[in-house]
């Protein structure tokens, strides 16, 4: 009987636990951060788990740089922060990093790989314009609803509007439906493309009802020709045009919102703006939560709903009330992304050490009793290696077999090739180590990663061996060596007194190949 009552309730209620977001006056970041801690602490008390203590400054500076700017701090920045005596230096650093250009660059990396997947169908499309577009939007802190509307209704020339790449890269209604619902609404609808979803209420009709909104999108131009000979590519939505042909397996249904109404549309209406308005409305039960959950996972290593883009009744949030409140706050703030990040990073929960302590050795990760240990993404790893070793010589890179031709073709950079080589499984948890033997062989044995040119100025600087070792630790791990580490490494330096570059090269090699370097702890 109870079961039947639950099934009769609106789906949104089931997924989201509580009511649809109530829009009120938004809180500033500090009270919102306190709010987060109160909600988490209530659960911790109920589970009798004592959280790990506050992390030290070294742990914090490395974490917050990686999470906000996508790379580790330089040795100088790390040392300056650790030695800074200003009381509110953590809050100041968060603000400083959110205002840096690299914030938008890192967000663009994340969103580019969410929005655009490389397939053979889009192999002639460069993703660069989209990356630039995203970077600009995030850095300007464009409200999230506006950004998503701009993506979903993008029109015109690729060179003038990078957001049209979304359609160039996902050119069929089914791809667009899969991606837009997963990425912007946090639901996995794609199973319902071919059959009714096995463990949600999503029916095939609903899938194709959403897909119908994308049936008037047109590509103008030939990507292959444009890539080889130049030429323009553009996207348009012709209200009067006949809807495009769907796959044979498609169900032919009129446009209908997911778990919602069927909007009144005439044959001459453009469909996408109608979809975009519904999707990004503060009243949409999915939209705000999907982004809150995604941002939460970006900083905490797992979502309040996890896996993050699989929100359905069988996968409830760990903290339903908190998710509902943060979603309401995010909507009330006008979808202010930086504000939400500021709140997340200023919480005690974010600033806990990732070391387990006596009170939480086996605590479930969804209690957030210690910081999750995340694996550097390929982009973070590359940018951090560059931070330490300097920019690789493009000449070395071009000489590698097979690379030159491919590089010319899509204007591939060493960074893109590195990222492609290190890219793990698409839906992997951020805490899961993904590299295999080939990747590790490259890290250990490639000339680029054994390049010790950065040592030359250091050796000439008149620094003592202690200071050089300290610099290497700060440059790679953003911390100073422990006494034991210092003694151990200095012994190695003494052993190779005639070959200082080699000795410090050994230390650098070990630091770069350590799991401490490759993890964001």
């Amino acid at each position: 009987m109870i079961r039947r009552t639950i099934l009769a309730l609106p789906l949104a209620w089931l997924i989201l636990g509580n009511a649809t977001p109530v829009i009120g006056t938004p809180l500033d970041a500090p009270p919102l951060a306190r709010h987060i801690d109160e909600a988490l602490d209530t659960c911790l008390r109920a589970e009798k788990v004592t959280p790990s203590p506050r992390c030290d400054d070294a742990e914090f500076v490395r974490r917050v740089y990686l999470d906000i700017t996508g790379h580790i701090p330089s040795a100088e920045k790390a040392a300056a922060f650790i030695d800074d005596r200003t009381p509110n230096k953590r809050a100041k650093l968060i603000d400083e990093l959110l205002a840096s250009r690299e914030y938008g660059k890192h967000q663009a990396d994340i969103w580019q790989s969410l929005l655009l997947q490389r397939t053979s169908d889009n192999r002639f499309i460069s993703f660069d314009r989209m990356t630039e577009w995203l970077e600009k939007g995030f850095n300007a802190n464009k409200p999230w609803d506006q950004m998503v509307r701009d993506i979903l209704t993008a029109e015109g020339d690729l060179e003038k509007n990078g957001a049209v790449t979304y359609f160039l890269a996902n050119l069929t209604p089914d791809k667009l439906t899969d991606n837009a619902t997963r990425v912007f609404l946090g639901v996995q609808l794609q199973c319902a493309q071919c059959h009714n979803h096995p463990f949600t209420k999503w029916k095939q009709d609903e899938y194709w009802g959403m897909a119908a909104f994308f049936t008037k999108v047109r590509l103008n131009g030939n990507p292959r020709q444009a890539a080889r000979e130049g030429g323009t590519l553009s996207i348009s939505e012709n209200g009067r045009g006949r809807p495009i042909r769907l796959p044979v397996s498609a169900k032919r249904v009129p446009p209908k919102f997911l778990q919602g109404e069927q909007p009144k549309l005439t044959s001459s209406d453009a469909y996408r703006p109608v979809l975009a308005r519904w999707m990004t409305s503060p009243q949409n039960p999915y939209f705000s939560r999907a982004m809150v959950n995604r941002l939460w996972a970006q900083f905490f290593g797992r979502g309040l709903v996890n896996p993050i883009d699989d929100m359905h009744e069988g996968n409830p949030p760990s903290h339903p009330q908190l998710l509902a409140e943060l979603s309401a706050q995010f909507a009330a703030s006008g979808f202010d992304i930086k504000q939400l990040i500021r709140a997340l990073c200023n919480s005690d929960a974010y600033q806990r050490t990732s070391k387990p302590s006596a009170g939480n050795p086996d605590a479930a990760p969804e209690l957030f009793s210690r910081m999750a240990i995340k694996v550097l993404t390929p982009e973070q790893l590359y940018d951090s290696l560059v931070q330490v070793l300097g920019v690789p010589n493009p000449e070395n890179f071009r000489r590698r077999p097979g690379v030159a031709a491919a590089a010319r073709f899509r204007n591939l950079t060493p960074r893109m090739l590195f990222v492609a080589f290190f890219k793990g499984e698409e839906n992997a948890e951020p805490t899961e180590y993904q590299a295999g033997i080939p990747q590790v062989l490259r890290l250990m044995n490639s000339p680029q990663l054994n390049n010790t040119a950065m040592l030359v100025p250091l050796l000439k600087s008149g620094k003592t061996p202690e200071q050089i070792v300290e610099h290497l630790y700060l440059a790679t791990l953003s911390r100073r060596p422990t006494d034991q580490e210092l003694q151990r490494t200095l012994a190695l330096v003494r052993k190779q007194a005639n070959e200082p570059r080699q000795a410090y090269g050994d230390i650098l090699w070990v630091l770069l190949n350590s799991s401490e370097f490759t993890l964001n702890h």
Partner: protein, 422 residues
Amino acid sequence: MTLVHLSRRDWLKLSAAGVSAVSLSGWLKVLASRTAETPAKHKSCILLWMDGGPSHKDTFDLKPGTKDGGEFKPISTVVPGIQISEHFPKFAQVMNHAAILRGMSTSEGAHPRAKYYLHTGYKEGQGGLNYPSLGSLVSAEIGKPDGPMPNYVSIGARSYGAGFLGAYHAPLIVTDPARGVENLKPMVNGSHFNDRLGLLQEMESAFYREYKAEASADHRTTYQRAVTLMQSKEARAFDLSLEPASSRQAYGSSRFGEGCLLARRLVEAGVSFVEVTLGGWDTHQNNFERVKQLSQQCDPAMAALVNDLKQRGLLDSTLIVWMGEFGRTPRLNQRGAKPGRDHYPRAWSSILIGGGIKGGQVIGKTDKEGATVIERPISALDFLATVCELLGINWKKQNNTPIGRPIRIVDKGATPIKELLS
């Protein structure tokens, strides 16, 4: 307790139990001696990938004397009644181990989509997933989980990856067989490298003691696998210079020949899946000259591979697959100076050799122009299910994607080719 089938999570427990206290090199010896105890009973597969789509009418399904039948003459093989192109004389001598499938009929006619489909059994983009390729599936199903060698090696091309199965089953790529695995040798000498490893091991243990991170344990496992590979005698399999000149000669002097020789060495060393790519079959123009030249590279290499495996007693446990992504049009196009053939997925040929099949047969038949399959059509799913069955893989098994979607190894609708089973 056997230590061989340990998952990554088990390694974590092992490390927690104090194994991490042993120095890296000492620890590795423990691993090496334990894995050596297990007999390698599983089958292996060598996929000879004919990139671009070979013309079936000019290789293994000749139609002499018909319209656009082409320039090549058929020759007899050691199996009475089976004829193939005159440019495969050596392969003709080992036809008794092979089955030619002349009824291949698939649905994708563009290179990337067809390659994806024939490698994974799923259409690219279907259901919004990234599917594992055959090599990764074989690695996951019958590969040795913790041996020193990788379970999937791709020679000459990047091929297709592990999709949702994860990086653990991604191919190790060998771009040039003569150069072996990239970055396999350390940049410093052996004892110096061991010093580095020793220091690294200390750092790893200290970090793990404090943070107890699973990712750190996995990191260490992967480093250990890579170092084991670098230092293992099995890794010598990657070094073609160790092969006597006489046996190298049999494979021909082409890079593909070297790739096949390397494949043989890798299978001997226990690798489960090796893919060797021979590109250039996209003969829209100048079809005959190019197919002749490619056939001449392919023929000695394939025949030597079969003979070598047979001689070593490995042919019954090694399935060789010869295929491309589709066939080529029965009609010649006259667009260029010299005639060519275009993409044609509707009817084409593939070959299976060894692996315990009933050899010396032709399965399926096309009409007199090689345009339509008129007997025993074989879909991509039938084909992949057959390969799995021959390798002892339950192709109806479901793998779970990270969000728990069950995906079959081979999708519904496949019927394995029974005639192959001896």
